[in-house]
Amino acid sequence: MFKILQKTVSTGTVTANYPAEPIKISGRFRGRPSFDFDKWKDARPAAEVCPTGAISLSDKGDSRKVTVDYGLCVFCGLCAEASSEQAVRITQEFELATSDRRNLVLAAEYTLNADRTHRGLRKVDRKSVNVETDVESLGKKARETIQKILGRSLAIREVDAGSCNGCELEIVALNNPVHDVERFGIQFVASPRHADMLLVTGPVTRNMELALLKTHRAMAEPKVVVAVGACGISGGIFGVNYASLGSVDKVLPVDVYIPGCPPRPQALLHGILLAIGRLAERLHDNRAG
């Protein structure tokens, strides 16, 4: 007993204060790749190496449409290595969660030279991801929502719908003393009947489809669904095949998408806080209605 106390005292507090304070992350961490469309002279090398097709091209005559989908990205960094003109840069941004799937897709159109390199940028549909970046106030708002509306606790039911277990490891890490989501009143629960939020990982396998639907059905209204990781958002590297449906939103209405492969714990927390906002709106609607 004495030993336990001694170890506890000598260890001290290890809990990080994200999002109230920014986190310290290794300079080598690979976050969101950013694209300088003006500078990009040839998108083919990056598209060629991308393991999941997150960068895709469609050429028509002398024009090319380049699409970048962060929902498919596994953050491997190969695109930055492949683009010799340094139009693709790996940043440290990880707060990419959004409630609108379209927010994760960038698109640009180029005119082409005879050698299929870019001659000029014709138009850009979306330059950068339009996500909630004021995480600090997001955290405060979420805390208030949990305090006032949710009776001081938010209950999450997690379902692995075919993940490789990578996302689960990071979700489990949310409960360790460093990330400790209980400081927000957030807890993971065993029964869907107790849950306000369904956190789903994996590309939704045919063998998990029914179990996922039943879990969602068992939850009381109002409820929100969060799709986690490249697989949950888009099928990731697995995509659609005989055994995989290829995304959570094929089966359930999704409120928030959290990109990553897997998303780091802070990215998960950011997405969960965002989803709490959605839940608050829905509670409000329910009462008004």
């Binding site: 170890k7 961490f29 075919g162 979700i171 890490a173 360790n176 003393p177 995989s244």
Partner: protein, 530 residues
């Protein structure tokens, strides 16, 4: 068998088994193929097991109908004390599509033979329980790993039958269904317990809920992208599976990875082992109510994944291994971080273990709980941590050396008791050994080259690669195809061998101890289901 020259081996097998043995060839010094004239694997299996005490490593099939007009089954054997793998290749009869089952004799073949039935539509004759396993009972009759089945096929909603579990009878006997969605944040699978009061009579497992067509997908995507698929076979073993895959390609294309690349792989493989073992030690403590130990263990794990990120840019060591070596070198600052983090980790780990050792009640709950006896472990073909705690002295790092392991000495801990306590003990010993390996490998991590350029991969070459992941023996077998693609990729995660160990170990234990027994094996569902 395995110290002979190829021609002597051929003569000896011919003499023993007659004209059924068609040819023997060595693709590599440690990878020998014996081609049979028919599918009858029983005589040679009996011979290899009887004469040489050979162990069946894995069983899988390949559709060679368009190339050679036939399906092949492959049976991989190893012999204690030899680095060689002996792979018996047996054609399946084209008219009946039947092959004889080994499962009654060798339970480790059970699920693997049924996978072959489900995925290829071949029939394992004499299988004691030939029901569906990899595709659930409600699936239509499709054979997705046949070449004429397109990967992208979208099947209509399933309307087939439900799985029927073996019933349990008797006064006070009842069945407890659990899953596929479990109480905690873990992977999905179904456990059906038959209990008489508290004690478990027997456990029926139904897995493959996370089957996502991985082996078929390997046949579609180009090799350099497939490395990322290998990293997603089992998320907690991304580096081990990634390495196993790259090694297979390197063996097929005779690519020599420079020492620095090999040493860096060795270091990262060991970091993956330490990370997962520490997490498991904490989780085992939690499952018997010693949560403070888990608080420390998960804090330590967090410092290790932070180190992972510093060394590779990913908390799970992803995007680092590549065909030809590793993608990025390390500078002195990174190696200093590695050394310092490991030093402080080693101190903290000692504290954690002494905390656990000082808790009599924890020891009391873990000793004699979930016992897997050595003779059972051997009969079931158990590998890895679960095997070593039950007297099965196997470790790919020592038995089939790869990466830079031959350069560093380490001990392989083996216990006979086979209970949860000893499965934890194996992990504790291995963490300490791993720290030693990493320290010894660090100077080699600063040599010059860490990667060689990769030529175009030659077509139609077979290669077997093995890695001792933190859970146990990982096998990847590939056949290359044209244009840097694969024709076949077989993946065997150690979990596939080890689920029967769980079934055996829980018998007679109370149902409340199931979580800790399950955790003490901590098998990968995704690695099993692929």
């Amino acid at each position: 068998m395995m110290t002979q020259s190829i021609s002597a081996m051929f003569e000896a097998l011919r003499q023993k088994l007659g004209p059924q043995v068609q040819s023997v060839r060595a693709d590599r010094e440690d990878e020998v193929y014996v081609l049979l004239r028919d599918a009858d694997i029983r005589p040679i299996t009996e011979h290899l097991r009887g004469e040489f005490g050979a162990r069946l490593v894995t069983v899988f099939a390949e559709d060679r109908c368009s190339a050679e007009g036939v399906f092949f089954n492959y049976y991989v054997f190893e012999q204690k004390g030899s680095a060689q793998y002996l792979i018996v290749q047996a054609p399946v009869r084209s008219d009946t599509l039947e092959f004889p089952s080994l499962s009654a004799e060798l339970p480790s073949a059970n699920w693997q033979e049924r996978e072959i039935q489900d995925w290829f539509g071949l029939k394992a004759v004499g299988h004691p329980n030939p029901r569906r396993v990899a595709l659930h009972d409600n699936w239509p009759d499709v054979y997705p790993l046949r070449k004429d089945f397109p990967l992208e096929t979208v099947l209509p909603p399933f309307e087939g039958e439900r799985h029927i579990y073996r019933p349990a009878f008797g006064e006070g006997v009842l069945q407890v269904p659990v899953g596929p969605v479990h109480a905690g944040i873990i992977e999905p699978g179904h456990f059906n317990f038959a209990v008489a009061g508290e004690p478990i009579l027997y456990l029926q497992l139904r897995m493959f809920y996370t089957h996502k067509g991985t082996e078929k997908l390997f046949e579609k995507i180009p090799i350099h992208k497939a490395v990322f698929l290998a990293e997603s076979i089992s998320g907690d073993s991304s580096f081990s599976h990634g390495t196993a895959f790259c090694q297979a390609i390197e063996r097929a294309a005779s690519i020599e990875v420079p020492l620095r690349g090999l040493a860096m792989r060795t270091i990262l493989l060991e970091l993956e082992r330490i990370c997962n073992h520490v997490a498991d030690i904490g989780a085992i403590a939690t499952d018997v109510g010693f949560v403070i130990a888990n608080a420390h263990a998960s804090r330590l794990k967090e410092t290790l994944v932070t180190l992972n990120e510093q060394m590779t840019g990913s908390r799970q060591l992803r995007g680092m291994v590549c065909v030809g070596g590793v993608r990025r070198g390390w500078d002195q600052a990174q190696l200093n971080t590695l050394r310092d983090t490991l030093d402080s980790f080693a101190r903290e780990f000692r504290d954690l273990i002494s905390l656990i050792d000082s808790s009599e009640s924890t020891r009391d709950r873990l000793e004699q709980t979930g016992v897997l006896r050595p003779e059972k472990a051997r009969a079931l073909g158990i590998v890895g941590v679960g095997g070593r705690a039950s007297g099965v002295d196997l470790d790919v790092r020592r038995d089939h050396p790869y990466a830079a392991y031959p350069r560093y000495s380490f001990r392989v801990p083996v216990y006979q008791a086979g209970d949860v306590w000893h499965r934890m003990q194996v992990r504790i010993d291995e963490v300490n050994e791993s720290i030693g390996i990493v320290r010894n490998a660090m100077p080699d991590g600063l040599q010059r080259e860490f990667r060689v350029p990769v030529p175009s991969i030659p077509s139609d070459r077979c290669a077997l690669s093995a890695v001792e992941g933190w859970r146990g023996e990982i096998i990847h077998w590939i056949r290359t195809g044209p244009d840097n693609h694969l024709q076949r990729c077989k993946i065997k995660d150690p979990s596939l061998n080890n689920w029967p160990a769980l079934v055996e170990a829980v018998q007679g234990n109370i149902i409340a101890d199931f979580p800790v027994i399950n955790k003490s094996f901590n098998l990968s569902y995704s690695g099993t289901d692929r």
